[in-house]
Amino acid sequence: MADPSSRQGLILAILGLRKHFGGVQAVNGVDLSVEPGDLRAIIGPNGAGKTTLFNLISGDLRHDTGRIYFGGEEVSGLPPHRLCRRGLGRTFQITSIFRRLSALENVQTAFLSHHRRHYNILLPARRLYRDEALALLERVGLREQAGKPSGILAHGDQRRLELAIALAGAPRLLLLDEPTAGMAPRERHEIMALVARIAGDTGLTVVFTEHDMDVVFAVARRITVLHQGTVLAEGAPAEVRANGDVQRVYLGQPVTA
């Protein structure tokens, strides 16, 4: 396991991160390091602090104590839009898209912003990055839906769209919070296989949370187990599966793959 305090060569390094809500210590001293190109699953029971951890990394929430390094530089306290510009992309556990814009416009807007054209008031935007956006929609399987208002797409398609929005920003690190939530098992595998392929093609680093252990063990390179706001275990899938603590935490939903 790489040491997060030596940030060299790590795309993400987290040291002693804490966050509480009232009396709830949602993230309670997390150390985490992610190497470039990793496909990292963060697993843990409901309320383990996975989403909170993502919110802290992405600047959506301010942490109480600790440090976050992204690409070797400290980014603690940077707002989301800055982090996004530095190459951090994310999706949300509850689908977050621009519901009254078409699927195409959703992705186009992400491209426009990524290319820093979003203050341009002179060009017509309709044709800008249209081909790129269509190609990306094709990649996530939404080419046919491009013209539809995204709010009426099927749930699974909305999740694909959000993935496309995040990818349009050409991130170096992509955080996916339960990207397959609410999908049928088959679609879950399909989506995660797609993510793995894209990551492989582009050298993108992916950190994702997921409750379906089948999916996790099928795609993750490494797994971090979070429990009550702390890291319980970390390692390659085989190591994690053999870990007794993990077995105990998941009592009732045994870790089988």
Binding site: I94, T95, L101, T109, H118, I121, A166
Partner: protein, 310 residues
């Protein structure tokens, strides 16, 4: 007929209107154009940015007073003074907007109203400069533009160019990003947009064009009064935009047309009843339309699937 065809027809109709219509109707059309611009500028915020300002009278008034003061106190001719309208309004919008965009929803509306009341009170109290309650009189355009037909053409040209600019802005990358901010500010942040700054820029643009409307109105009216900044004036673009539809770029223009014609018809017969009439329309429109004005009222133009809870 294609859209361009209709547009061409409209332009021709507006161009030949002075040949067919008596001065009174030209003045009515002039007012419609001014209110239409005001409401369209306002709707850049409401319809496209999802921000409802209850204080847009402030920018209208700044746009009216700035050139009026230059004419009265510095003796500038109208054409040199008029550019001060968008500048003063934009400056005011930048100053106030900086704070306003920090808040959202009801508080956004209330702070914008508070700033507008400040503008109103300053105008009202600063008698030495603004004439206070008496306003500034004799703010007329130069002789060449003084006839109803001439000022009508002038207004049409300025409003036409302004609308063109606003249309460009709505369709530009900036406009796309603004819509994304309206739809989902959090998501917008995560595609790299500085939401507050984007809102502020939109606020300033909207304020500037409201100022253009105010400036045009000052010289149309020949005088300016503190009422221009009063809170009831702030509701004018809101009501007009609501009547016409905030979802479309041209909605507020249609609304301005309906609003002014209605106002003329009603107040010609029963001047006293006009506010009653207007108030009732506002109430009926809000209560009866099931989803209110799409988007604002939380309603959506199409059925959407609820985001599934994971």
């Amino acid at each position: 007929m294609p859209r361009a065809g209709w547009l061409g027809l409209l332009v021709v109709a507006l161009a030949v209107a002075p040949l067919a219509l008596p001065p009174f109707f030209l003045q009515l059309l002039t007012e419609i154009a001014i209110v239409g611009l005001f409401a369209t500028a306002f709707n850049l915020l409401m319809g496209f940015g999802g921000m409802v300002s209850f204080g847009h009278a402030a920018y209208f008034a700044l746009g009216a007073y700035a050139p009026a003061l230059l004419v009265k106190r510095a003796g500038l001719p109208m054409l040199l003074a008029l550019p001060a309208a968008p500048l003063a309004a934009a400056a005011g919008a930048l100053l106030f907007g900086f704070f306003i965009v920090r808040l959202s929803h009801t508080y956004f509306a209330m702070l914008s109203l508070a700033f507008a009341q400040i503008v109103f009170t300053v105008i009202f109290k600063w008698k030495a400069l603004t004439g206070g309650d008496d306003g500034l009189l004799d703010v007329w355009p130069p002789a060449a533009l003084k006839s109803p037909a001439a000022y009508y053409y002038f207004t049409l040209a300025v409003v036409g160019l302004s609308l063109l600019a606003l249309r460009l802005i709505v369709d530009s990358p900036f406009g796309y990003a603004l819509r994304s901010v309206r739809e989902n500010p959090r998501r917008a942040r995560f595609i790299g947009i500085d939401v507050r700054r984007h809102q502020l820029v939109a606020f300033v643009i909207s304020g500037a064009f409201s100022g253009v409307a105010g400036g045009l109105f000052a010289f149309y009216n020949g005088s300016v009064f503190p009422d221009f900044a009063y809170f009831t004036k702030s509701f004018e673009p809101l009501v007009v935009a609501l009547l016409g539809g905030v979802q479309s770029f041209y909605g507020p223009l249609a609304g301005a047309f309906g609003f002014k014609i209605l106002e003329w018809l009603v107040s010609r017969q029963w001047p006293v009843y006009w506010p009653l009439f207007l108030g009732s329309i506002v109430i009926v429109v809000i209560v009866v339309l099931p989803y209110g004005f799409v988007g604002l009222a939380g309603g959506r133009p199409w059925r959407t699937r609820p985001a599934a809870k994971a």
